[in-house]
Symmetry: C2
Subunit: 301 residues, 2 copies
DNA sequence: CGTTTCGTTGAACTGCGTCAAGTATCGTGG
DNA sequence: CCACGATACTTGACGCAGTTCAACGAAACG
């Protein structure tokens, strides 16, 4: 297309990096370790099984329980609301296949996409507590989800504390992702946000084997992307163009290819800590095995 | 239109549309009064006890365990880092008294405050999983916190599933707050964000008896507020001025008084769902008592 | 009491939003 | 096979909300 500046500083200045005050500016080094963790589990495993399995070795009886949870499978077409802001929660759902988005809307229609729901993610696990949803979940592709009643979660907490812990930690990871997006919306420019999101998605999808060679399907319109990044559609489009013209990414329909991951991550100020967090968590097994509490009776009295 | 609107539409259009240009006459009063740092404290219950107690009736043995958790109390002066992004997690901490903030920083120093930590809130409960922190926590006031080693969390999951569930749900509530702030940063104007945050804080503080008659202490500089709302200091200041000139709030040092809650909530597009969520959660007791799983042995094998 | 830190305000600038209009692309019915 | 909306993607022109720069007063602090 049009000849544009090449590589290096193609994007011009990213922002005034200097901030006069603020005690926080420690240097952080690469943290390049820890690459060794293998994540792929048995192919037969269900998404939830696989997700929790990344935190600890699932035991047989736990395996059985999880399998039972994911017994009822339902499919939904794209653009279906699985949950609607302001309405009651239904069953708990585990995304098995496909994409969805979690989003919130203002009364006047402005909308914010909070997060993307990928295979293995859970929807509405806390419905026992908040019976009315404060957000919506809408499918982006055709999906297949497993449904089960919320009481099963309580049962899980009672009978399988290790799974409960894994679940809680999975929730914490999600919160960390949302917090990182908050940092994006609050303090990153449009270009930085966009770059950051692309890198994040690439990482998350790589973990679940949905991306390879920096290439993945992004089943999302630019409008939705804009709603995720707090931008207007027009500016979203222009920002993507800048990334394309800079040669960092390629777009063909819903296929996106990351050509220069290093630079994209650098533009997005992608933090290696964050990376570590969304990729390979510490294993819980030994923590559990070490700790006393083995008199495992739930009620002492 | 009148060039100096009263009440009602004093702020002009909130989003799109033209802003009636021209200087807004401002009566600036500077009454600076003694800074009382009043802070109601619980007569008997510890903050954690009280927090989890809002989800379910704490039993005696659970009470004992919680009390033990909060045995080691440590005080810290204002502006102390309790946790530093990029460093290892230490003990788990429960905020007993005072304010802190959770924040993340970009390498170049730009900073985003993710949330404010109030009495009863927990810091670093998931350190078992992520041994390196992706965010910092810094005190805003003098605080008193309870410390305990992370293994106690594991123990709690193993021995007290009801508490574990309450803890998980408390975490979910926090995530909901962060998600709502995400909506603010993504889709609300500066004025709306500010109004929304003030209403949110008023609600949260009222629950723990740290606010009355719409009046509370906000131990925060405008810079920190700006970092929480994704604004520049200058614009933060101007936005607060608009709220003051509109008569919605009053500020004296760190005391803030909400004069017109209704209108403030309306400006901030404060959602009642969200309100419900941060205030009074559903009780878990009966959910637990109903569900089977009473053979409460932790390990079947 | 000097030195920071915090708050405040004017003025100029800019990243991003809004408006408007045009261009693929695709499914659907004729 | 071609019109046909309909939806998504692009791009130019312009305006505004919010940023940056700069400067100063006032409170907090040691």
């Amino acid at each position: 297309m049009a000849d544009r500046p090449q590589k290096a500083e193609w994007f011009g200045k990213t922002r005034k990096g200097t901030r006069p005050k603020g005690p926080v500016a420690r240097g952080r080094e690469k943290a390049r370790e820890g690459m060794t963790r293998a994540r792929a589990m048995a192919p037969s495993a269900t998404p939830l099984w696989r997700k929790l399995g990344s935190y600890l070795e699932i035991r047989d009886e736990e395996k059985g329980f999880l399998a039972e949870l994911e017994r009822t499978i339902v499919g939904h077409p794209p653009r279906t609301d699985l949950l609607r802001q302001g309405e009651r929660y239904g069953d708990v759902r585990v995304m098995r296949d496909g994409w969805a988005m979690r989003h919130k809307a203002l009364p006047d229609g402005r909308r914010q996409v909070v997060n993307f729901v990928l295979p293995g993610d859970i929807i509405g696990i806390y419905c026992n507590l908040f019976d009315i949803a404060d957000h919506s979940v809408t499918t982006l592709t055709a999906v297949s989800v497993a449904n089960f009643p919320p009481e099963r979660v309580v049962e899980l907490f009672q009978r399988f504390p290790r799974l409960a812990a894994a679940l809680a930690w999975a929730g914490a990871k999600e919160e960390a992702i949302v917090a990182e997006r908050l940092l994006s919306l609050g303090r990153r420019t449009a270009l930085e946000r966009t770059a950051h999101l692309i890198v994040e998605l690439l990482r998350r999808l790589t973990v679940v084997n949905l991306a390879e060679n920096g290439r993945f399907t992004l089943p999302v319109t630019q409008e939705i992307l804009a709603d995720a990044l707090g931008l207007s559609i027009v500016h979203m489009n222009r920002t993507l163009r800048r990334l394309r013209d800079g040669g960092l990414i390629e777009l063909n329909g819903q296929k996106i290819t990351v050509n220069d991951l290093r630079q994209l991550a650098s533009v997005g100020q992608f933090d290696e800590l964050y990376l570590h967090l969304i990729r390979a968590p510490k294993r819980l097994d030994q923590v559990f095995d070490t700790t006393r509490g083995d008199r495992g009776d739930v009620r002492l009295a």
